[in-house]
């Protein structure tokens, strides 16, 4: 159906009504096959112009026919025009849809998301115990490409790379792109104009909205924005959410600054000048749903339960949203979209609240952190590490936090006399931001808590050493972070320094005053006589006392630990400076009196050099003398190793629970068991828990506690719990060896829970039997089995085994104990250790 010749050249002419009518009918898709097959705007431009003119003509004639003469004629003519208009409108609607669909390809946002620098995000969440391995690397990466706009990147890439700066706070803004090529936009505009003037505005908006919405949805899927209900998000593990928050931040920036902004631009281009706020209506029609879907995630995060570890990602989210807010305000400036603006602002304010809430929650958690067991060797308490790492990490967000934290910490007042809250004097801290005051306050309550903990040391010297170590660590951490140091200020830092020096002095006084007292002259001279009037017996007694005291101090304090080498060195030097000259002069004055008598070696055990080198043993954390030391050696050392590597928050919680409960359980048993308990079980549990911490659920432990075992008269309360987490370890390590171990464990424990019992005895023993060809019925078998599995397990796990040893002992199964001892501990901790334990058991 070729259009007549004269039409094709008549672009600037107006088309007569009859011809126009004919053109409209020709393109009536309900009438002709060809009209159905072809799209006008896909074809010849002349045809396009012609059709549009025809529509214009019909519309013109509609307004003019009303002055036609005959009434009936007018009616039927009206109907004819009307009908033509509607045919044309239906056609235009289809054309409009067709153009939109043809140019609907989702925005290529992949390149932004999976660009090279994104790989740095894969490093998992921060770890409070690995001190300064901070997430700052993440931010450094993000800063890449910032600032310079003439870098040849395409607009999208450029937009994203300039959008970011440190800690997600960004200054850059909207980058619009052409979602649809300009020619197509012109066509769309010319159609929209005609549809709207014919009163088909609603149809136009709807077609537009439905096509653009699906384009938007496709872009969303490319960006990885999921549809998650709030309930779903509350159920997700925080670690999972951390990755999602990161992903969301990136996606949201692209959405707001590129997708939504470009959508808005497109609407403005197509509907510009056609009618009031039509562009806005179309825009909202398109992005309302997607925007709600986008913000739903942030909404869900903002209302999630608060806990300290959430602080960092919530701050990230806050900063990101804060940075986007001006852009959101621009993109959603119209009245009809204020609900989206309001929602974003609400989320932001809820995130702000969350940050404040978490900080105060953290403070009260630090204050109330209730573990009562003293850290062996007086070293740095895990709480100290945790708190200091935490505050040095949050001070990376100082810019945000200084703005958000507006109120001073709620401290106890100096004269409140409340023994559960420390005092803090604000007067001397004038001019500090509330956030800085909070940081100082956290350090104050940390020290307060630590002081409470130090009281659990029986040895006052150790308590002082503990405080010295911990406050020193605090000072080091503050110095290590420029932000923290700046906020806390040198004044307070000096105070802290004074504090650990004071603790060092107190330690020296507590330990060394009495030792040095042995080296005084008084009491040695026989009254009345001069020069050589020295009482030999008194002198001998004095030397013996000194030797015994020094030996004891050496023995115990070599096991104590000062982790900081410089501090350790300083303290040793300070000891030497007092001890060595005093001893040297004492020796100089009285040596001859002893050497002239019998068996001088019984009284003068140490040369000056001996003492000097003995002092070098101090604070090394050696387990050097005695059984307890032996035990101490293998376990806490490995333990420290472990603590340094990876410890997380559930770990603290559960270890505390177990720790205390374990000790409670031990309280009723013999002193030896208490020693064992303290030295072995506690570290062991602490040691093993991280292995399974991810799967730990508090109620599982509660259930474990309920399984009380009464075997051989021992009430071993933790039996069930031990078993539980053995099981957990087995699950997480899925080492076949472990499952077999459990079968033995089952024999020892005889758990009260029949389900566990059955599982232990049948399934695990069977597995063992099938693997080894032996049934674990006799001790020999057990022993051989034990040595067989021995070398298959790692050094860390031996500690777990050591606990079984201890447990066996508790249960009164000495034989078992011996076997375990030889097989497991023998290999790992050496024959010495076993001898030590045996001796101890024998005594």
């Amino acid at each position: 159906m070729e259009p007549p010749e004269n039409y094709s050249t008549a672009t600037s002419f107006s088309v007569p009504f009859e011809d126009a009518h004919e053109i409209i009918l020709r393109w009536d898709s309900t009438a002709s096959e060809e009209a159905r097959e072809r799209m006008i705007f896909d074809g010849d431009r002349q045809e396009v112009d012609l059709y549009l003119q025809a529509v214009d003509e019909i519309q013109k004639s509609m307004s003019s026919t009303s002055i036609s003469s005959d009434h009936h004629d007018q009616d039927s003519n009206d109907n004819r025009v009307n009908s033509a208009i509607q045919i044309a409108m239906a056609r235009l609607e289809d054309e409009f849809r067709n153009i939109l669909i043809n140019h609907t390809s989702p925005v290529e946002v992949d390149s932004l998301i999976i660009s090279g620098r994104a790989s740095s995000y894969s490093s998992s969440s921060w770890n409070l115990f690995t001190s300064s391995a901070r997430s700052s690397a993440e931010f450094d990466q993000e800063e890449f490409g910032g600032g310079d706009h003439d870098d040849g990147l395409d607009p999208i890439q450029r937009a994203d790379s300039t959008n970011s700066s440190s800690s997600y706070r960004s200054t850059s803004s909207i980058r619009e792109i052409d979602l649809i090529p300009q020619e197509a936009v012109a066509d769309l505009q010319s159609i929209a104009k005609r549809m709207i003037s014919a009163g088909c505005l609603r149809e136009c908006i709807q077609v537009y909205g439905s096509v653009r919405k699906s384009a938007m949805d496709a872009s969303f899927r490319r960006l990885g924005i999921e549809k998650l209900s709030i309930g779903d998000i509350q159920r997700l593990e925080w670690e999972t959410l951390e990755t999602r928050i990161r992903r969301w931040i990136r996606a949201a920036k692209v959405c707001v600054r590129i997708l939504f902004a470009s959508e808005k631009k497109l609407c403005e281009e197509i509907f510009y000048g056609i009618g009031t706020s039509i562009d806005d209506a179309c825009f909202m029609e398109t992005v309302r749903g997607p925007a709600i879907q986008l913000f739903n995630f942030a909404e869900a995060i903002s209302i999630s339960r608060r806990s300290p570890e959430k602080m960092f990602k919530i701050l990230d989210l806050h900063d990101a949203l804060m940075g986007m807010l001006p852009d959101i305000d621009v993109v959603f400036e119209s009245k009809s979209s204020d609900s989206i603006r309001v929602q974003a602002a609400e989320i932001l304010s809820r995130l702000t609240e969350a940050v404040r809430g978490i900080l105060s929650e953290f403070e009260s958690a630090v204050l109330r952190e209730p573990s009562r067991v003293a850290v062996p060797g007086g070293t740095i308490h895990p709480l100290t590490r945790y708190v200091m790492n935490y505050i040095s990490l949050i001070s990376d967000y100082k810019q945000t936090l200084i703005e958000l934290i507006m109120s001073k910490p709620s401290t106890g007042s100096r004269y409140s006399g409340d023994p559960t809250t420390p005092d803090m004097e604000f007067a001397e801290l004038e001019g500090k931001t509330p956030f800085a005051l909070h940081l100082i306050w956290i350090i104050v309550i940390l020290q307060f808590n630590l002081e409470g903990k130090s009281k659990h040391y029986k040895d006052a010297s150790l308590a002082h050493l503990f405080m010295m170590n911990n406050v020193h660590y605090i000072v080091q951490k503050v110095k290590g972070s420029p932000e923290l140091r700046e906020m806390i200020g040198d004044d307070y830092l000096r105070k802290l320094t004074g504090k650990f020096r004071q603790a060092a002095t107190s330690y020296q006084r507590a330990t060394w005053v009495s030792v040095l007292y042995c080296l005084r002259d008084e009491g040695l001279h026989i009254s009345g006589s001069f020069s050589s009037g020295v009482s030999k017996s008194a002198l001998r007694e004095r030397f013996k006392t000194f030797n015994a005291m020094f030996e004891e101090v050496h023995r115990t304090q070599a096991t104590w630990l000062i982790p900081d080498s410089q501090l350790r060195e300083e303290l040793r030097i300070s000891i030497s400076e007092k001890l060595i000259p005093a001893y040297r002069s004492f020796l100089g004055r009285f040596r001859s009196h002893i050497e002239s008598g019998k068996h001088p070696e019984n009284y003068i055990k140490y040369s000056v050099e001996d003492l000097e080198s003995a002092v070098l043993d101090f604070f090394e954390g050696y387990p050097c003398l005695g059984d307890a030391m032996l035990l101490n050696k293998g376990l806490p050392c490995a333990l420290q190793l472990f603590c340094a590597s990876s410890v997380n928050l559930p770990w603290i919680r559960t270890s505390r629970v177990l720790w205390e409960d374990k000790l409670d359980g031990a309280a009723s048993t013999s002193p030896l068991q208490q020693v064992l308990c303290h030295l072995m079980i506690v570290p062991l549990i602490r040691f093993c828990l991280p292995l399974i911490s991810i799967k730990l659920v508090p109620n599982r432990f509660q259930a474990g506690f309920k399984v009380a075992l009464t075997i051989c008269g021992f009430k071993f309360r933790l039996g069930g719990a031990c078993y539980e987490f053995l099981l957990d370890i087995a699950n997480s390590l899925h080492v076949g060896v472990w499952t077999q171990m459990l079968s033995l464990e089952g024999v020892v424990f005889l758990p009260a829970d029949p389900e566990v019992h059955r599982f232990t005895l049948s399934s695990l023993q069977m597995r063992y039997a099938t693997q080894t060809g032996l049934y674990p019925s006799g001790k020999r078998v057990l022993a051989s089995f034990s040595s067989r599995v021995l070398y298959g397990i790692t050094g860390q796990l031996i500690l777990k085994l050591a606990e079984m040893v201890e447990t066996s002992y508790h249960l009164g199964l000495e034989l078992f104990f011996e076997i375990w001892l030889e097989t497991f501990l023998g290999a790992f901790l050496g024959v010495l250790l076993i001898d030590g334990i045996r001796k101890r058991l024998g005594s």
Binding site: I101, S229, P370
Partner: protein
């Protein structure tokens, strides 16, 4: 008022309970008084909703059961009850009181329920959006058929909008988790063979339509209601002291209002909605609620067979009018008989009036639902804070 008749019975129960807990802590008298008041207020508020409006001159006064304005009142009642509940729960209370069992467990259940209610709020907000889509289609019909005289062109235009409207409101939310409102049909049945590329786009296009719903694909409003009500156990004698009762009542109120909203407004996946939630009959405060629940249940049963967009009165009337206007359009021949035109004009006027009511009511309803959302979030925060404060030696989590 129905509530007044019920009062003796529930006062009776109160006095029984009074005896049970007479030995409890000192301020139980005050507490019982508060509880009594709380229950009465709940009963009264819902009774007011069931009582018919005063002006009954028009059957469609706009105030009728399950209309937009009725739903708005219902949501208002929820907001009032919630405020009172929170006052009873939080104000001037020692946190340690709250964090003791069984209240701590009940409250954390309540918090769980609140989170689920948030998702329902979001889904219902989406549902209101879909009704607004229907409204827009109906407006097209109105604007086409309002013209005088009605010609073929107008009828054609109206027909197209009508068929979109009818398919939008006839939702089968089992198969097609979302109403088909946004989709305006092509004016011709199929596209030609020259549009192979377009064809792909179109199929894509069709599958995107779920995007009006904010919630995940497998999310189900019915299941959500079920999850909210499943652990709602009637407090037993020993437990029914102090705050246990208000928590129970408030939970029921919340579940009921959510349930009613889901029934009235299109929501993703609502099959089996009826069976999921039953309020025990023995409580005075519950009578009005149960009455409404039964009424809505009957409506639901009637409508479920037809696969309706929801029980919202305006939508149902819109459907009915749409149906008869389709008949009118199908039989239309120019020039039309006056009688038919008059009939159609009346229907168009009614449709216009419904559109007007939707225009006025839907956005405020949406805002109210948003307000419920905020309120729930706030209360949840406050209660969580209380629960946390109550625990004395909370380890660092």
């Amino acid at each position: 008022m129905p509530a007044t008749e019920n009062q003796p019975s529930f006062l009776g129960r109160i006095s029984i309970r009074r005896n049970q807990i007479i030995a409890m802590d000192g301020n139980h008298e005050q507490e019982l008084e508060d509880l009594e008041l709380f229950q009465r207020h709940i009963g009264d508020r819902f009774a007011e909703l069931t009582s018919p409006p005063d002006n009954q001159d028009s059957p469609f006064s706009g105030e009728s059961f399950l209309s937009i304005s009725w739903l708005r009142k219902l949501v208002d009642v929820l907001l009032c009850c919630e405020a009172e509940f929170k006052a009873a729960l939080i104000m001037g209370r020692d946190p340690s009181q709250i964090s003791k069992p069984p209240l701590d467990r009940l409250l954390s259940d309540y918090m769980e329920r609140a989170v689920k209610a948030l998702d329902i709020c979001n889904a219902v907000t989406g549902g209101v959006d879909s009704i607004r889509e229907c409204q827009k289609l109906a407006e097209i019909v109105v604007s086409a058929l309002e013209q005088k005289p009605i010609g073929d062109g107008q009828v054609k235009r109206a027909k197209k909008a009508l068929s979109a409207l009818m398919s939008a409101s006839a939702i089968d939310d089992k198969e097609n988790n979302h109403p088909r409102y946004a989709e305006r049909t092509w004016s011709f049945g199929r596209r030609g063979n020259n549009s192979g590329g377009n064809h792909k786009d179109r199929t894509n296009h069709g599958s995107f339509r779920s995007l009006s719903m904010v919630v995940a694909k497998n999310w189900s409003a019915a299941k959500q209601i079920q999850a909210m009500s499943s652990n709602l156990a009637v407090p037993r004698g020993g437990e029914s002291t102090g705050l246990v009762q208000p928590v129970y009542i408030m939970s029921n109120v919340m579940v009921f209002v959510m349930w009613a909203l889901v029934a009235a407004i299109p929501c993703q996946e609502r099959s089996g909605l009826l069976t999921h939630f039953q309020i025990p009959k023995q409580f005075g405060w519950a009578h009005a609620i149960i009455g409404m629940q039964e009424k809505i249940g009957e409506e639901w049963k009637r409508k479920e067979k037809k696969g309706s967009a929801g029980l919202l009165e305006e939508v149902q009337r819109m459907e009915k009018l749409g149906q008869s206007l389709i008949e009118f359009a199908d039989g239309f021949q120019f020039p039309a008989e006056d009688e038919k035109l008059e009939e159609a004009a009346a229907q168009v006027a009614e449709l216009a009036e419904i559109c007007q009511r939707m225009e006025e009511g839907l956005l405020p309803l949406q805002q109210q639902i948003r307000e419920v959302f905020h309120r729930i979030v706030r209360s949840r925060r406050e209660v969580l804070d209380l629960l946390d404060h109550g625990k004395v030696s909370q380890p660092i989590i």
